[in-house]
């Protein structure tokens, strides 16, 4: 596994965790057919937390965060996001989705739209923001991820790192309260990993609630306030990064850490 060292040290002083609950997952279980992927998941995420989820391949990390914006449906238990429970009621689902941003491993930009259109699409059609205003917001976030000059290009003309930053900007344009990242850097070259991670660090410094599946342990140490280790569909261990890396308790965690560090 790669271990990119971040050049800038994240300024933890700005990352405040409030005691307001952003996400609450209670006794959640999920099956794919007969396969029990997520087992008795209990998790409380407070506003402003930066959580890194780690674990071996197939342990259910992606499935867990995809349940939070209902890209996957859970069968048992409760998921409550910002006070809205995810049920089969589409209204609730839409409400949660417009408050939760998601960044994918393969960016999933819309190739037929320009960068700017990628960023304004959801604000215009979901939030009903006037086009002019949506474009201003989009340019603001594109500046923030440092690629305003690419606004009129198409995704296919950008490098992987640039595309991933656009994907982050696209999510931010919806003004989400929570951001989910599913291995945002694992399809990228080392040089590009750095630029994407730096964008994410900045986001954390602004107090965004983040859930991040990643193998970038440097990022976890710098930014996370909590690391969750999953294996076989269960949360095996969670702790502050310091403790988690230096003093793992569970055997599986120890094994995992010895393999990747």
């Amino acid at each position: 596994m790669s271990s990119i060292t971040l050049e800038t040290h994240a300024d933890r002083s700005k990352m405040e965790v409030s005691d307001e609950v952003a996400i609450e997952i209670r006794d959640m279980n999920k099956w794919y057919g007969a396969f029990h992927v997520l087992r008795d998941i209990d998790l409380k995420v407070y506003q402003g937390e930066r959580i890194v989820i780690a674990g071996p391949s197939g342990s259910g990390k992606s499935t867990l965060i995809r349940c939070i914006n209902r890209l996957e449906e859970h069968q048992e238990g409760q998921i409550i996001v910002d006070g809205t429970e995810l049920t089969s009621d589409l209204k609730n689902v839409d409400k949660v989705r417009s408050e939760v941003g998601m960044v994918f491993q393969h960016f999933n930009l819309f190739p037929h739209l320009t960068i700017l259109e990628n960023c304004t699409l959801a604000p215009i059609w979901v939030r009903k923001t006037p086009r002019k205003e949506a474009e201003e917001i989009a340019m603001h976030f594109l500046e923030k991820v440092k690629i305003p000059e690419q606004a009129l290009k198409y995704p296919g003309m950008l490098s992987g790192g640039q595309q991933q930053r656009v994907a982050i900007a696209r999510s931010l344009c919806m003004m989400p309260r929570i951001m989910l990242f599913d291995e945002p850097t694992s399809a990228l070259d080392p040089e590009m990993i750095k630029e994407v991670l730096e964008t994410m660090v900045e986001l954390a410094e602004e107090g965004m609630t983040m859930l991040c599946v990643t193998h970038e342990m440097g990022f976890a140490k710098e930014v996370a306030n909590r690391v969750i280790f999953m294996d076989a569909g269960q949360i095996v261990e969670q702790n502050e990064p310091e403790e988690f890396f230096n003093n793992p308790q569970n055997e599986r965690t120890k094994l995992f850490l010895s393999q990747i560090l």
Partner: protein
């Protein structure tokens, strides 16, 4: 070790490619005569081409344009020259019939105007580089020319006025640059209406022009859509979108089936002068019966309607086939598989004979309308599968990204999925279009006088008994022009929609 290290001291400048690569001679050498084998092939092909053309060209350029019958042609060429030269007199004498069938001569301006307006209606749909104002120039010009063609004091005055307006708008469009115009609009200048308005009303104008009758019929038909739209607009927020849609469709149906006819009668009465058989409706065109339709006019009518309707229906069917709703899915799959499993000719026979048996006696369901429905459904089934191919080619991530941004199903389909799926399917879609357009000749089998049906009728004339190649050649050429245009357009569209490196 030392000869392994190398440091370039000077960067190389850019050079022009070798002379053999550029210019006409270079091209010929590189493409036609590179090597012995290729040279032999090139020479053989040239000989073959010469052989074909030396037989074909004299046949085509035969001076038989003015002949009045096959016998006259034979006289021009000597009795034995039966197939030594084309006998083009048949095209000169019958081309109008090949284009219009038995459409009454006095009314032929109507299909011509309809055809001209078709292009005006299509241009904003097909091309987006042509400006709003140029669209209106074209529209005004077509209408103006129609006025002049019609003649009469009124026609000429109206025609000149319209042409003048076209010239005025065109002049302004040419004299103000794009940037100036953008600035004018920015500072609040009034824009011309969106030309899509005309594209939207064209489907109501065209049948009126072709079949004639009261103008209130197309107006009433259009109002049905308006009724449905408003019903949906106001009810959907209250009762939900699916129920709203159903109510809207019902409202439109009620309008069409129950309310429209009385309205049309009332309005017709209002605009009719005189009474009894001599009465004249001011706002009606002379009705033309379907059996007088024929020739390319018929092919184009069927082709355009089938093409225009099959795409949206095909999209809906493709989406239905992917639906989670079991009944919707079963209906769509059943429809697609049934229609694809049956030859078009069978469907056409059903349209021409069987439908009459099922319909209540006395209903006169126009034969062309029946054929239109069958051909459209046939094309739609194929279209659905082509579109499904495009949908299947889209990565799952596109759906997930749309979901994650909070777009609902219809918005995701409209803004994300369909634009990409249709773009992927352009070659298949256009192949289907071309296939449908060519299949329109099958209607000759059920007795409609499409170009092929007419060619049989023409050959039955004793003047032209025995003329084959000229007629079929002409028909083939006309079809080729249309199909080749579609094919070129699709290539243009693919190039325009390319969004990777450029």
């Amino acid at each position: 070790m030392s000869d392994m290290s190398y440091v370039r001291s000077e960067m190389l400048p850019e050079r022009a490619p070798p002379a053999s690569q550029i210019g006409f001679v270079g091209w010929i050498r590189a493409n036609l005569f590179n090597g012995v084998g290729n040279s032999i092939l090139t020479i053989l092909s040239l000989i073959f081409l010469w052989y074909i053309l030396s037989a074909l060209l004299p046949w085509i350029f035969a001076p038989t344009w003015n002949s009045g019958s096959l016998n006259e042609c034979r006289e021009i060429f000597g009795a034995d020259g039966g197939h030594g030269a084309a006998c083009w007199g048949v095209i000169r004498e019958r081309w109008v019939q090949l284009l219009f069938g038995f459409y009454p001569e006095a009314e032929r301006w109507r299909p011509i105007v309809g055809f001209g307006l078709l292009f005006v209606a299509l241009i904003p749909v097909l091309f987006n580089m042509i400006s709003r104002r140029m669209n209106w120039v074209l529209l005004l010009a077509v209408l103006g020319l129609a006025g002049l063609y019609l003649g009469g004091a009124l026609g000429i005055i109206a025609g000149l006025l319209l042409l003048g307006a076209a010239g005025f708008v065109g002049f302004k469009a040419f004299t103000t640059s794009k940037e100036d115009r953008a600035a004018e609009i920015e500072s609040g200048a009034k824009r011309l209406p969106n030309p899509f308005i005309f594209s939207a009303i064209y489907p109501f104008i065209a049948p009126w022009l072709l079949w004639g009758g009261s103008i209130w019929l197309p107006v009433g038909a259009a109002l049905g859509f308006v009724v449905g739209y408003f019903a949906y607009r106001f009810l959907a927020p209250v009762v939900g979108s699916l129920a709203g849609l159903i109510i809207a469709v019902l409202a439109a149906l009620i309008w069409w089936l129950l309310l429209m006819a009385p309205m049309v009668d009332q309005l017709d009465a209002l605009f009719t002068i005189g009474e009894g058989p001599g009465a004249e409706n001011l706002l009606a065109l002379e009705p033309v019966e379907s059996r007088n339709f024929g020739g390319f006019m018929l092919s184009i009518t069927i082709g355009v309607v089938a093409i225009a309707c099959s795409l949206p229906i095909g999209v809906v069917l493709a989406l239905g086939r992917q639906s989670d709703l079991l009944i919707v899915k079963a209906l769509c799959v059943g429809f697609i598989e049934f229609i694809r499993g049956v030859p078009l000719i069978t469907l056409l026979f059903v349209a021409s004979t069987l439908l009459n048996i099922f319909l209540p006696p006395g209903t006169n369901f126009d034969i062309i309308l029946r054929v239109l429905i069958m051909v459209t459904l046939f094309a739609a089934a194929y279209m659905a599968e082509v579109v499904r191919g495009g949908l299947a080619a889209l990565p799952k991530g596109q759906y997930e990204a749309a979901d994650a941004l909070g777009l609902d199903y219809w918005k995701a389909q409209r803004l994300i999925i369909m634009p990409q799926a249709l773009k992927i399917s352009i070659p298949g879609i256009v192949s289907t279009f071309i296939g449908v357009f060519k299949d329109t000749v099958l209607v000759s089998i059920i007795g409609l006088l499409d170009p092929l049906g007419l060619s049989n009728a023409i050959r039955a004339d004793q003047d032209w008994n025995g003329v084959v190649w000229e007629l079929y050649g002409f028909i083939a050429f006309m079809f080729f022009v249309f199909c080749f245009s579609m094919s070129r357009y699709s290539m243009y569209l693919e190039r325009r929609l390319r969004t990777d490196h450029s």
